[in-house]
């Protein structure tokens, strides 16, 4: 309790939170539109989730339950640090269970568990501008968004097909929101794109270094860009999760030894634990138990 006295609730001062909330409201009112905001100095460097942290800090309340994941896992360094940060400055309840969280801050993945009304997903975004790599001028990209000139986005996809025979973009796959703005969903795998469409949860995106916030309100149309003759496809995996046997989830590759041994397991650790608790078992788990 002593520590709490040195920080305002959730670290940011009230004026800052107000400013950020206004930006968030604007973002929600214009789905997919990048709202500039006055990004603050945070106690972690740029590139470590300052945007996501500022959004979370602005919407966090004492009754909230916070989950933080990094590439789907609750136990990586970043997830652990950010979770600890909020515990310290907000004294808020934390969880690793997707079902129990009211706010989920994520880096680069969407939980496998379907989100429900009342939940908010906060994404950490490095580069918010989907057109940036093809058009370096900020003045030009702003005009393109304003005038709905998105031909260049398809140029990028065309280039992919020309070079690779198929659209090779596998993460940060651009989407069109509510039929108007083209948005970068953050570096989540394209596998997760369909989850953004008509989600019951509120999705907020924060880019700290680039100073932009954008949002997808619940039940919003989110469509991945493609060509008529090269439609959008999500990745598929040959095998189910080695630990819980889940199919149709995003898998991470884990190296087991230095002889090339590896296994594919659920990227979403909470989802995997949940399934194992319910009795599902993948082939690695069975083998492990057999060995024991």
């Amino acid at each position: 309790m002593n520590d709490l006295a040195t920080y305002n609730f959730a670290y940011l001062d009230e004026q800052t939170k107000r400013m950020i909330r206004r930006a968030i409201l604007k973002a929600i009112a214009i789905p997919g539109y990048q709202v500039p905001f006055a990004s603050r100095e945070m106690p972690m460097p740029y590139g470590w989730g300052t945007g996501g942290v500022q959004v979370t800090a602005s919407i966090l309340g004492p009754q909230d339950v916070l989950k933080v994941i990094d590439q789907g896992a609750d136990d990586t360094t970043n997830a652990v640090s950010i979770r600890a940060f909020f515990q310290k400055v907000a004294d808020v309840a934390v969880t690793t269970r997707t079902k129990d969280a009211t706010i989920i801050q994520t880096r680069h993945r969407i939980p496998e568990e379907k989100l429900s009304e009342g939940q908010t997903l906060v994404y950490q975004v490095p580069i918010p501008e989907p057109l940036r790599f093809l058009e370096p001028r900020e003045t030009e990209t702003r005009k393109m968004h304003a005038l709905e000139e998105y031909g260049l986005m398809h140029v990028k996809l065309y280039e992919d097909i020309a070079r690779n025979g198929h659209i090779a973009t596998t993460y940060a796959y651009p989407v069109k929101v509510e039929g108007r703005y083209v948005m970068d969903p953050s570096p989540t795998p394209k596998f997760d794109n369909p989850k953004m469409h008509m989600s019951e949860a509120l999705q907020l995106f924060g880019a700290g270094r680039e100073k932009r916030i954008y949002a997808v309100p619940p039940y919003t149309e989110v469509v991945s860009l493609d060509f008529d003759d090269h439609p959008f496809e999500i990745q598929s995996f040959d095998k189910p999760c080695a630990l819980c046997g889940a199919e149709d989830v995003y898998l991470d590759e884990v190296i087991l030894d230095d002889k090339g041994g590896r296994m594919f397991v659920c990227s979403d650790t909470d989802h995997c634990e949940d399934r194992r608790a319910c009795g599902h078992a993948g082939h690695m788990l069975a083998r492990k138990e057999a060995a024991e």
């Binding site: 005038l147 998105y150 140029v155 020309a162 008529d228």
Partner: protein, 258 residues
């Protein structure tokens, strides 16, 4: 041939403070006509081209364009969205330096296909086929379709720029010294290509050049500019063979014969 002019230019002037860019320029351009604006450096021809193509707003005067729906629109009063759409579909602009008019880090096919994608084409196969077709028309081997213009020679880049501009069948094309900086043999090839395309597609074009031979070859009409003013204009072969004004006579007589 249409009876209504495609472009109506009325008393256009552009001043930079007290410095004259161009002044009191008036003319009408009809579909299928090629107008050459000729003059030496500082004559105001590039300023005029910029005013006509909406890259600059004139200080005074009006430029009106005959839209596809039959209405005349004052270009200076057009909204930005409409203006940009016009520039991408009904108009073309060929820059002197092709790098200014191309995306250098994107393949030739994508460069040609961009305008199509910008107006909503969503079939990869069709876009690629159209791009191939155009590359052939500008005499770029279709095996180069996936190469970037960074790997092209100056003449090839220029031809690619032309293809990129013509793919949406524009009715009016602006060209700023299209053969500037190219080797003579390359120039000849390019000029012949442009001549053919303009003729085949019935394009109207406004070409700024300091090279009278380019004007002779490509244009039907010619305007001679000096110090910001149009000092003589008319049928190209008439202006070149029977120049009236002192400056025109000087220009014509200055051409070196080979």
């Amino acid at each position: 041939m249409s009876t209504l002019p495609l472009l109506k230019v009325n008393d256009v002037s552009k001043f930079y403070g007290s410095r004259i860019g161009c002044r009191n320029v008036s003319f009408e351009l009809y579909a299928g006509e090629v107008l050459a604006i000729v003059g030496e450096s500082g004559s105001g021809k590039t300023t005029l081209l910029s005013c006509l193509s909406t890259r600059l707003i004139p200080t005074s005067g009006i430029v009106e364009y005959h839209m596809r729906d039959g209405q005349y629109r004052d270009l200076a009063r057009m909204g930005e969205a409409e203006r940009r759409f016009l520039m991408r579909t009904d108009w073309g602009f060929v820059h002197q330096n092709p790098a200014d008019g191309l995306r250098m880090t994107v393949s030739a096919g994508a460069n040609v296909g961009e305008r199509l994608m910008a107006v909503g084409d969503r079939h990869y196969g069709n876009i690629r086929a159209t791009a191939s077709d155009w590359l052939e028309r500008v005499e770029i081997g279709i095996d180069r379709i996936d190469d970037q213009p960074r790997a092209f020679s100056g003449g090839m880049r220029q031809r690619l720029q032309i293809a990129r501009n013509l793919v949406t069948s524009p009715r009016l094309v602006f060209m700023d010294e299209p053969t500037g900086g190219l080797d003579v043999s390359v120039q000849a090839r390019l000029l012949d290509l442009v001549r053919g395309l303009v003729h085949d597609l019935g394009l109207a074009a406004i070409i700024v050049t300091h090279d009278l031979a380019v004007a002779r070859l490509l244009s039907h009409r010619m305007m001679v500019m000096k110090d910001g003013a149009v000092i003589e204009q008319g049928l190209t072969d008439r202006v070149l063979d029977d120049p009236r004004e002192p400056y025109t006579q000087l220009l014509v007589s200055s051409i070196l014969q080979v």
